[in-house]
């Protein structure tokens, strides 16, 4: 469902991720643990491109979200001028790729002097697999540490905002296309058919509102529908943030330390809602400091440290018999 392929992320001189790969399968619940500053949040944010990886690719359901990373496609590298030169000089193809990659990693960008053929090969892969990031993000819910409810909208409007905005944008787009088709039809003998627009502004709003109320009822906060976020407690805010993401019917949910900014007595209500989602079969990636929770709900736990995934195992194994010394050290501190 979600493929992270050899991700590097640099913030200036700081190298946060140094080649991370993992696959999130449909229905899987994956927890990411690690000390602060280890890069676990960055890894999560790279998954929906809130951070753009410096190198590497992110794929979602066979669609490419990031630019093409030539090192992951040997056929692209094979088109590059430098590669051809190095091979012609007698270097083996594997060594040549390693050398080019090392140089580019140093310069933090893909070399531009690799010729037309190289760029065309990259463009071909991109064009075949490209998906608009905004479309991809509609299927990826994200929950933040600081809740990030929209302060200028009421609770209900918060939940309705994305479905309504995106629904209306679709109608506008269909109408624009119809206009073009109508104009075209004036001059052609073969009349093209218009796109059928079944939804109206009102129907989209009504549908979104019904869905919002249903979700609010689910978490027992329907009486808060018309209040503004500033009047809510942390736990309420976070649960609303979760159902706001659910309103888009996402296929995967990303949680970035969802309970770290909460008072202790409110952590339970948020974790309960997340457990419910996990039991319903939602695909989830959770960056968390709640080891007990990670152990209980996860199918797999990733331990991220120094920019690498050091361990990637089911929770029982990982917590019982940690292999990596840094993980052992980490667990002894937090457990």
């Amino acid at each position: 469902m979600l493929n992270v392929n050899n991700i590097y992320k640099n913030f200036g001189d700081l190298k946060v991720l140094k080649g991370v790969s993992t696959e999130i399968k449909a229905g899987e619940v994956v927890s990411i643990i690690g000390a602060s500053g280890s890069g676990k949040s960055t890894l999560l944010r790279c998954m929906n491109l809130l951070e753009t990886p410096t190198f590497g690719e992110v794929w979602m359901e066979g669609k490419l979200l990031t630019p093409v990373d030539p090192y992951l496609h040997p056929e692209v590298i094979a088109c590059s001028n430098t590669y051809k030169k190095l091979v012609a000089e007698g270097m083996s193809s594997g060594d040549a790729i390693v050398k080019i990659k090392a140089e580019d990693l140093l310069n933090e960008k893909f070399s531009s002097a690799e010729g037309k053929e190289y760029r065309a090969a990259m463009k071909k892969i991109y064009d075949e697999n490209y998906i608009d990031i905004n479309v991809a993000r509609q299927k990826m819910g994200m929950v933040f540490q600081q809740f990030n409810l929209f302060n200028n909208l009421s609770v209900k409007e918060n939940i309705m905002f994305a479905p309504v905005s995106i629904g209306l944008a679709k109608i506008r787009k269909a109408k624009r296309k119809n206009l073009l088709i109508k104009l075209g039809n004036l001059f052609k003998k073969e009349k093209k058919e218009l796109i059928e627009i079944t939804e109206t502004k009102e129907s989209i709003k009504a549908e979104a509102e019904a869905k919002a109320m249903e979700l609010l009822r689910r978490i027992g906060l329907e009486e808060k529908a018309d209040v503004y976020p500033s009047t809510l407690s942390g736990g309420q805010k976070q649960r609303i943030a979760i159902i706001r993401a659910l309103a888009m019917n996402p296929e995967v949910m990303l949680f970035d330390e969802p309970t770290s900014a909460l008072d202790p007595e409110m952590i339970g209500e948020v974790l309960d809602l997340m457990k419910e989602l996990a039991n319903e079969g939602m695909t989830m990636v959770i960056v968390t400091h709640e080891m007990g929770f990670a152990r209980e709900v996860s199918d797999r736990v990733l331990f991220v440290d120094e920019g690498y995934i050091k361990e990637d195992r089911p929770p029982e194994e990982l917590f019982k018999s940690p292999e990596d010394p840094r993980l052992r050290d980490f667990l002894s501190k937090v457990l």
Binding site: N148, L149, N151, I166, Y228
Partner: protein
């Protein structure tokens, strides 16, 4: 000259020239102010958003405009507008007074837009980055995020500063009287020329300016309270 005579003179002047002050003067001042306020606010907001653009030359141009406008006197900008705009736009069909009015309006709009853009930019930057991230993570494009989430919150934050700028604009329109555009200060020059009662005319004009700006500041206060009501 006693206070009593001044008050008597003011009454006399108002009796005879009320039309020049209250209708013509206030009319032109308000017209000029409203045009400058609205166009300046729109242009300023566009400039503020443009300053966050990825296209570097656009950012440079906007920064240059803001710096030049901030670094030169408003009166000088009006002179430049007065002599330069007729070369760019064909406004010869208008009366001399209307030509001056258009030139002054354009110069004041650019002046106001520069200040408004700085205010709006500070407001945009003050909105938590998490708001943008939340909106983008839901799959909304940057335009919808900016217009529906960021700008409404930014405007709420900058309303006091914006109100201040609007009051400054109303007062700056008085500079346009240099070119006799018919505003309140022009009315003062006119009536003073006819009556030779400089002090009285100044008091009248000052009082009218004060009423205008005070009303505006009260309106802004109401808007602020309304926006504070939620969130």
């Amino acid at each position: 000259m006693s206070l009593v005579t001044i008050i008597e003179n003011i009454a006399k002047i108002m009796g005879r020239y009320w039309y020049v002050f209250l209708v013509k003067g206030v009319g032109y001042t308000l017209l000029l102010s409203i045009i400058v306020l609205v166009c300046g606010a729109i242009l300023g907001s566009i400039m503020a958003i443009g300053k966050g653009s990825k296209f570097a030359p656009l950012r440079w141009i906007i920064t240059a405009v803001v710096e030049v406008v901030r670094g030169t006197p408003s009166l000088l900008q009006l002179y430049i507008g007065y002599f330069f705009v007729p070369k760019l736009l064909n406004i010869e069909g208008l009366s001399a007074q209307m030509q001056a009015f258009v030139c002054c309006a354009i110069a004041l709009i650019i002046n106001s837009a520069a200040y408004v853009s700085e205010i709006v930019r500070s407001g945009i930057e003050a909105v938590d980055k998490g708001q943008t991230e939340a909106s983008r993570s839901l799959g909304l494009n940057s335009f919808t995020t900016m217009t529906k989430i960021i700008l409404p919150q930014a405007i709420k934050n900058i309303l006091p500063a914006l109100g201040n700028e609007f009051i400054v604009v109303i007062k700056e329109t008085s500079l346009a009287s240099t070119f006799f555009v018919g505003d309140l200060m022009t009315a003062y020059l006119e009536v003073k020329g006819a009556t030779y009662l400089s002090t009285e005319c100044l008091i009248i004009v000052g009082a009218i300016y004060f009423v205008l700006t005070f009303t505006l500041s009260k309106i802004m206060g109401v808007a602020e309270r309304k926006m504070k009501a939620h969130a």
